[in-house]
Every structure is written in C-alpha cells, then in structure tokens.
C-alpha cells in the first residue's frame, strides 16, 4: 500500500538498472504509486528520474528487482501478451521530454489516431475522440498541420492529446514544462490539474521545484547516487534545506544588498525561510 492508503498502481522493489557499459543509474530503488496519486520524482540532472519513468512504462526492464503494474510484473513477455500488453498501453500514457521524438506522424490528426488505431477501435469512435481531444486542448486548428511545423508549446499539447485520446488512467510525465513559455506552462498545468480531478494518477519527473505545489501530493527524491533519499509530502521536502542542498536541487548562493554580501541556500522561485548573517 502507498502512503496515501490507495491500492498501488505501480510497485517498484529493489530496482537496479544500468545502460550497457555504464555504471548503474538506478540502484536499489523501492517505492509504490497509489491510485489517483500525484507523485513527483525529483532529483538533479542524471539522477535517474527519466530512466525510472521508462521502467514504469515497460520500455526498459530492470537488471534486478521488479516493477509491477496493478500487481502484474512488467516483463517483456507480459507486455507482448494479450490482454495485459494492450491494456497496459491504453491505460498508461507517457509524455516524453522530447516532443520531436514523440510526434512521428505526418499530421496532428494522424498523431492522435495512432494509438486508438493500434488498439483496433472503430473508425467512428476514433474520429469522435480525436475531435473531443482537439477541442479539450484547444488545438482544433492544428488538425491538418505537420507536428514538425508547430511551436514547442503546441507540440507539447499535441503530444499530451495523443495520450489523452486513449483515456489513460495513469500519466507518466517527463519534465512536462521544460522549454515552455509561461502561458503554455500555465495551460498545461491547468489541464493536468483537471485530469487529476478526474482521478488520473500522475507521475512526474522534474528537477523544477516550483512545479511541486501544482503537480504533486507526494515527492520522491533521488540522489546523485541514484537512490531514493526522501519520500513525503511536498511541503516537508521543500522545507528540508539540507536535503535539497545534498541532492543538488538548490545551491548555496551569494548576493549583495548594497554594501552587504551574504550567502544562503537558494532556489529561485520557491519561497522559503532561512537564517543567515549579514556581514560587511
């Protein structure tokens, strides 16, 4: 059971993973994700957040340990077999950090149709869902455009639409707001909040602490040694300055107030209290 008391959607037990010829990028990682939970995986660059999302989506498989979805182990064999494989792919959507790679069809409409057609759904239903999803994300005018010709914000919305059209119950989001302007970022966060209101489970990998109040009820912190070093509510994690300094999510910062110079742990947007001495 997860900390929220909900039955686990994902169980990750003692997972170790390394890319070929490289040292492990996840080492002894254990946690659970409850149904309807909003979990953020935070850590510095290279701490293993994105890799962990790939493991949760059954795209990579651990060297040791296990990853399970609704009690069933995520193995190549399980994902290649029906009905578990197609069901998992329909229920779990993965928003990649690189939308350029995620959008591989010639038009936005083809992009949205890809998943439902792979599921073998009837064409009328596919078209109806495409229309609804385009309207929901306010991208109807992009329907016949080529994804390559869209702005970063539009591409991100199309990528999200290509997942929502399958009506998933879990979304895995890899740095969802990276590279977005403030308006696109705000729109995306609003959509994710509405989806969470509908009961979706959201697992977000980010190193942007400013997103935590919008995206998470629970935060799992990965260290630069690729291990989980904290697991708790966002307010507890954000208040733990020593922890955030140790995992390289905030940094010691010096600045001037007129002739005064002082140093303190610093992250640019999140407001936090800290004691420090002024010296001339």
């Amino acid at each position: 059971m997860s900390e929220t008391g909900a039955s686990p959607v994902f169980e990750v037990e003692g997972v170790r993973f390394a890319y070929p010829g490289q040292p492990p990028c996840l080492d002894g990682v254990t946690f659970e994700v409850g149904r309807g939970e909003r979990l953020a995986l935070v850590g510095a660059n290279g701490s293993g957040k994105s890799t962990l999302l790939h493991l949760l989506d059954g795209l990579f498989f651990p060297e040791s340990g296990r990853v399970a979805y609704l009690g069933s182990d995520l193995t190549e064999r399980a994902l290649d077999s029906a009905p578990f494989g197609p069901l998992f792919r329909r229920e779990v959507g993965f928003l990649f950090q690189n939308s350029e790679a995620q959008l591989f069809c010639p038009t936005v409409e083809d992009e949205l149709a890809f998943g439902p057609l792979q599921m073998g759904w009837a064409e009328d239903e596919v078209l109806r869902r495409i229309e609804d999803t385009l309207a929901l994300l306010e991208i109807g005018k992009l329907q016949d455009r080529a994804p390559a010709a869209l702005s970063a914000g539009e591409r991100k919305r199309v990528a999200l639409a290509s997942l929502l059209v399958l009506a998933p119950s879990v979304l895995l989001l890899d740095e969802p707001t990276a590279g977005l302007d403030p308006r696109s970022q705000s729109l995306l966060l609003g959509i994710l909040e509405a989806l969470h209101g509908r009961g979706l489970t959201l697992v977000t990998a980010t190193h942007d602490l400013t997103l935590l109040p919008h995206l998470a009820d629970r935060v799992v912190v990965l260290s630069e040694e690729h291990r989980i070093v904290a697991d708790g509510p966002p307010e507890n994690v954000l208040a733990d300055t020593d922890l955030l300094l140790a995992v390289n999510l905030i940094h010691a910062h010096s600045h001037r107030h007129g002739r005064l110079v002082h140093s303190h742990p610093h992250q640019h947007v999140v407001a936090h209290d800290h004691g420090h001495e002024h010296e001339e």
């Binding site: 790939h54 989506d57 795209l59 197609p86 792919r89 329909r90 959507g93 993965f94 990649f96 690189n98 350029e100 790679a101 995620q102 591989f104 069809c105 010639p106 038009t107 409409e109 083809d110 149709a113 890809f114 998943g115 057609l117 792979q118 599921m119 073998g120 064409e123 596919v126 078209l127 080529a146 390559a148 290509s162 997942l163 399958l166 010096s254 110079v261």
Partner: protein, 308 residues
C-alpha cells in the same frame, strides 16, 4: 563570488597568438543551406487537399500506374516519347493543382545532376562515334596505363546517350514526384503495404519522410555551432578531423532519435503494423486510372518503336 581567472577578466589574446583571419566555410555553409531549402521543398511533398480525381484516387491505383509508367519510361529510347511522357506528367500535375515549385526538383535539379553525371559519356573516350566537337588533341600516346586516341571529342552518339539518360531520369523523377505530391504520405505508405511491400521497408520510408528534415536541421545546427566558434582556418587535416567528428556526432544523434521514436511508438501500443484513419476503398474510377496509365504506356511504347 567565483573569482574569474585573469585571462577571462581581461579577454586578452595569449602572447604569440596568430593574427585573426575570417573563417573560410562559405562554400560548406551555402551547400548546407541549399540542401536544406531543397529538402524543405521535397519533405513533405504533399500539400493541399484530397479533392480532384487524381488526388482522391486509391493510393494503390496511383502506385500501380506510376510504377508501371516509370518502368516503361526506363525502356524508352526516343526523345519524342520521353518528352511526351514528361509533358503528360506535367499536364497531370497542373490538372491536380500541384504547385509548380513542387515539380521544380524533377524538372531542373534532376536534369542538371544527371547531365553532370553523363558528361563523360558524351566523349569518344566512353562512347565511340563521329567527333562533333574536338576538345583536345593529345596526338596519341598514353596516360599511365591508358592509351589515348588521336583526339578527345564530343561525339553525336555520346550526346544521344547522355540526352536519352537525362530525359529518362527527368521523366522518372517527375512521375515519382507527381505521385508523392498528390498522395498523403500515410496513404502512400499504406498503399505500399497493401501491395505487399515488407513492413520493415515501409517503416524505414515513413521514418525517413518524417525525420529527414529534423536530421538536416541538426546537421545545420552542428555546423553553425562550429562556425560560431571559428576564428581562423584550421588547415585541411584538422578540417577533415572536424568533419569526421561531425559525422560521428550526427550518427549518435540519429541513433538516439531513432531509439526515442521507437520507444514512443511502443509506448502508444505499436503492434508492428501501419493502420490508417479513413482507409480508401478501390472504386470503379481506380480501374479507369490504371487502364488509362496502361493505355498511355502502350502508346509511348508504340511511338518509341515506330520506324523513323
């Protein structure tokens, strides 16, 4: 505050640094830019709507007609039937409202490129025949292991061979471009698949169509990044080393992008088969298209075999 080293604070050149010269990469930069513009025209080739008899036809019918005509065009020998084939293709493109700039690569770039490739064939060194224009009189003798003729000249037979090849390649390229410009890429790929072309081949084509422009942009960025830090020519060896390193970096990026795309496809339930929205159905008019293409092909062959 972090203390900057002295050389970074002053921005001074080191002692004995050579005088600054402008970087010399204009040719490479222009070539990459021109390549980018050409690819931007070619990928994606399709634009507009599916209205009109040619655009709305079943992609399988168009594929059969285009491939059939291309095969016939490669066997034509006369200039008149080849020119007729090109004229028919241009006429069909105009009828289907294909923008003229879409056909430009076929009508300008392809003839120029094939003419350049065929230049040696115009000489009596390759095509024996009556000299038409004498270029050089080596007066016999040899060039290494080769024995040279009395004169090196353009021959009428050589011109005929080169001209025929230029017309053939132009006709084939125009037909292929007409097919691509009047058919949505997904439908074209679906058509290839339903005509029995292996799935792996169709997928490679689909990915090439989608990501060629992305990779070219990546190559341009790589070159511009290099250019932005170039202050002087490096010499041939180091330029070669840079070019090799650039190709390596491009290969890494290509592989990384290919991996990411594959994972994104699997993540959305890809089962190994291309599935289409609104699949087209073979109708009576598609038989008409195939029949008309067969008639044109037969007429071109008859025209070609007709005694002069």
């Amino acid at each position: 505050m972090t203390a900057l080293p002295e050389w970074l604070r002053t921005g001074a050149d080191p002692e004995g640094a050579p005088p600054r010269r402008p970087p010399p990469h204009r040719l490479l930069r222009r070539t990459l830019a021109a390549l980018g513009r050409s690819l931007a025209l070619l990928v994606p080739a399709f634009e507009g709507t599916d209205s009109g008899p040619l655009r709305a036809a079943d992609p399988r019918a168009k594929l059969i007609a285009a491939v059939g005509l291309i095969v016939v065009a490669t066997s034509l020998r006369g200039a008149v039937p080849l020119a007729a084939c090109i004229a028919i293709t241009v006429g069909l493109a105009a009828g289907a409202k294909v923008a003229p700039r879409r056909l430009l690569p076929a009508l300008v770039a392809v003839p120029l490129a094939s003419a350049a490739l065929m230049l040696p064939a115009t000489l009596n060194l390759v095509s024996a025949g009556a000299p038409l224009l004498v270029l050089w009189r080596p007066a016999g003798g040899g060039l290494g292991p080769w024995r040279l003729p009395e004169v090196v000249a353009v021959t009428s037979e050589g011109l005929l061979v080169a001209g025929r090849m230029v017309l053939r390649t132009t006709a084939c390229a125009a037909l292929a471009l007409l097919l691509a410009a009047t058919t949505r890429p997904q439908r074209l790929l679906g058509g290839l698949r339903s005509l029995g072309v292996p799935q792996a081949f169709v997928l490679v084509l689909a990915m090439a169509e989608r990501y060629l422009a992305v990779l070219l942009r990546s190559a341009q960025e790589l070159h511009l990044a290099r250019l932005a830090r170039s202050v002087a020519p490096l010499g041939v060896r180091r330029e070669e080393a840079w070019a090799a390193a650039g190709m390596g970096a491009m290969f890494r990026r290509t592989r990384s992008l290919a991996d990411a795309v594959t994972l994104a496809m699997i993540s959305r339930g890809f089962s190994g088969e291309v599935r289409l929205l609104r699949p087209t159905r073979w109708r009576g008019r598609d038989w008409l298209l195939v029949g008309a293409a067969a008639a044109v092909a037969a007429a071109l062959l008859v025209l070609d075999r007709r005694p002069a």
